[in-house]
């Protein structure tokens, strides 16, 4: 081949612009952090990081305006990628808004936090836009390695370092499975490009059972990353032990990006044997919903309860993945966007209410919140009602589209059991609401004022939840348009 064909063109860079901005911004912050003195206030670096994320958000439409693949088919810029880039960037923006006040409260206000968020976002963007298994691996690792550090950012905190250790060990274990699957797929097809793999497998050449085994290995790796049962054991510990804004970040951003590659790989490359992995996904989805919801019933720690609830929500998305259809993909996209809003809104409230050292994180600590801090209680209520799936919230339409897609694809039992599950889930969300509204406050001390960034996050997510609850078409039409993959 002509060597000039390998050189990237300007369009190639435009299709990769959001990640470029995040990476350059992150490196810039790294230098600035080193230049500012040790005892200076580092929250200005946080504002700079917010500006970088906003810049990347503006770059997403630029990338979308130049659809196609870049760097010899390694990165693809399509509507699907743009959607997940936007969701992860929104989660990153929320994280940065909540963490400035959190870090100064915990006396850990160093600049590294912000640039780690930026690097993790760059990795998630690469995951969303990767069209090649090695890029999937690299994006996943860029996102994960930064997240391991973020989970243990309060390094003198026993809980934080334990969360980081568990996240690191199980995350690397999962990556090894994914990678072994990639190497086998490379061995069977001689390719790592998703479209090339699809063509090679569809041609039905030898080694099809080996390809199925490779797909199973990759499924294990991805199931770990989206915290699907029986690979969910790390999630409750990590979300409970990590700093509250980081828990919100991990439960929404990397999970959405992991689902993006899940959908893309299984609907592009492995579509030719979809009938063989559909029963596996069926069981995985049901087990994830059951484990998440039933374990959440017994929790007294709000962060741990939200962790189990996030496992259950991964189960609902897996129902959409099981349908293996464009309608299902669109439903999964809508649900992940709604989930990012409602889950991060809840974690933002927890970030504020936990207090110094995160010592107030049980349901008992929320008693009487409605009379002490009615605004926080009201906004948290919106998020919890949406997580329950009450009509007029984004969560309702999310579940509605997922189960509608499942019924359209004749997954009647899975839909029935899923609906039963969301009824069970109502119990533990209502427990929090009951504690907030139907109990007297335990103490009478004056509540701390809510920091501006956390307020902004909570208002924005509540507004987003209600807007999507009334006009779901705003996001769903887009999702429906771009739920098809280049084949």
């Amino acid at each position: 081949m002509n060597p000039a064909a390998f050189y990237p063109t300007a369009t190639d860079y435009l299709r990769f612009l959001p990640e470029l901005i995040l990476t350059i911004g992150g490196v810039l912050l790294l230098v600035l952090e080193a230049l500012t003195g040790d005892n200076k206030d580092k929250s200005s670096l946080g504002y700079l990081a917010i500006a970088v994320v906003l810049g990347a958000m503006f770059a997403v439409p630029v990338a979308l305006a130049n659809p196609g693949t870049s760097f010899n088919g390694m990165i693809v810029s399509d509507g699907f990628a743009a959607f997940f880039r936007m969701v992860t960037l929104l989660v990153g923006l929320f994280t940065l808004l909540c963490s400035t006040s959190y870090l100064s409260r915990e006396k850990a206000n160093t600049g590294e936090f912000y640039l780690l968020v930026l690097f993790s976002l760059a990795g998630q963007g690469i995951m969303a836009a990767s069209n090649e298994l090695i890029m999937v691996f690299l994006g996943l690792e860029i996102a994960s390695i930064s997240s391991y550090v973020l989970a243990g950012f309060l390094r003198d905190d026993k809980r934080g370092s334990e969360a980081a250790l568990k996240y690191f060990l199980l995350g690397s274990f999962a990556t090894a499975f994914l990678l072994y699957g990639i190497s086998w797929i490379y061995g069977v097809t001689g390719a790592t490009n998703l479209v090339a793999i699809r063509e090679s497998l569809a041609a039905g050449t030898s080694g099809n059972s080996m390809a199925v085994a490779a797909a199973a290995l990759m499924l294990i790796g991805l199931a770990f990353k989206v915290s699907a049962a029986p690979f969910q054991a790390w999630a409750p510990d990590v979300y409970q032990g990590a700093p509250a804004p980081v828990s919100g970040f991990l439960s929404a951003g990397p999970k959405a990006a992991a689902f993006a590659i899940f959908l893309r790989i299984f609907q592009t490359s492995f579509e030719s044997f979809s009938s063989r992995y559909e029963p596996v996904l069926w069981i995985l989805a049901l087990a994830t919903m059951l484990v998440g919801n039933f374990s959440a019933l017994w929790q007294s720690n709000v962060k741990r309860m939200l962790a189990y609830s996030s496992i259950a929500h991964a189960g609902y998305v897996l129902v959409a993945v099981t349908t293996n259809s464009n309608v299902g993909t669109a439903a999964a996209m809508f649900y992940l966007a709604a989930y990012a809003l409602m889950n991060f809104g809840a974690f933002a409230a927890v970030t504020h209410l936990a207090g110094r050292g995160e010592s107030h994180v049980t349901i008992d600590d929320l008693k009487g919140l409605a009379s002490k801090q009615p605004v926080v209680a009201g906004l948290l209520t919106v998020c919890l009602l949406s997580l329950t799936g009450v009509p007029l919230t984004a969560g309702f339409f999310g579940k509605f589209y997922i189960f509608k897609a499942a019924i359209d694809n004749h997954l009647y039992w899975l839909s029935a059991l899923g609906l039963l599950n969301s009824a069970i889930a109502a119990y533990y969300y209502l427990r929090i609401l009951a504690a907030m509204y139907m109990h007297e406050p335990k103490t009478t001390d004056h509540p701390e004022p809510v920091p501006g960034g956390i307020q902004l996050t909570m208002w924005f997510s509540a507004a987003g939840i209600l807007t999507l609850g009334v006009f779901p078409g705003l996001v769903l039409d887009y999702a429906n348009r771009f739920a098809t993959f280049v084949k």
């Binding site: 090894a176 072994y180 061995g187 790592t192 741990r304």
Partner: protein, 112 residues
């Protein structure tokens, strides 16, 4: 100098399947070690073993196809494994500073 081994030993080639089987065995040893060992450093070494099993299979397939890309992938894996080692050992260090132990079953603060 006379060889103790028959001359065929030095001329016969090892079949490619043997490398793949070795890689599968290494991966299985790593996965089992991850699940059953108690010391965090040992567990971490098991993960490295799994990644090296992946490298071996990449290189084998690459040789089989007569293409160079599989070997390049193994370099990517090495670079990422090195970055992971830096972060992972730092995390293990904070665990040891906070608790004074590296036994995985003694690290159980987080529960309901």
């Amino acid at each position: 100098m006379t060889h103790l081994l028959p001359p065929e030993f030095f001329t016969a080639t090892v079949p490619l399947n043997a490398y793949l089987i070795l890689s599968a065995i290494l991966f299985a040893i790593g996965a089992c070690g991850f699940m059953f060992r108690k010391n965090i450093i040992t567990i971490y070494m098991c993960i490295e073993l799994m990644l090296n099993a992946v490298n071996l299979s990449f290189v084998t397939f690459s040789y089989q196809f007569g293409k160079v890309d599989g070997q390049i992938y193994s370099f990517f894996v090495m670079v990422v494994a090195a970055a992971e080692a830096a972060v992972g050992l730092a995390i293990i260090l904070t665990i040891f500073r906070n608790r004074g132990t590296l036994q995985i079953d003694e690290i159980d603060t987080l529960k309901n």
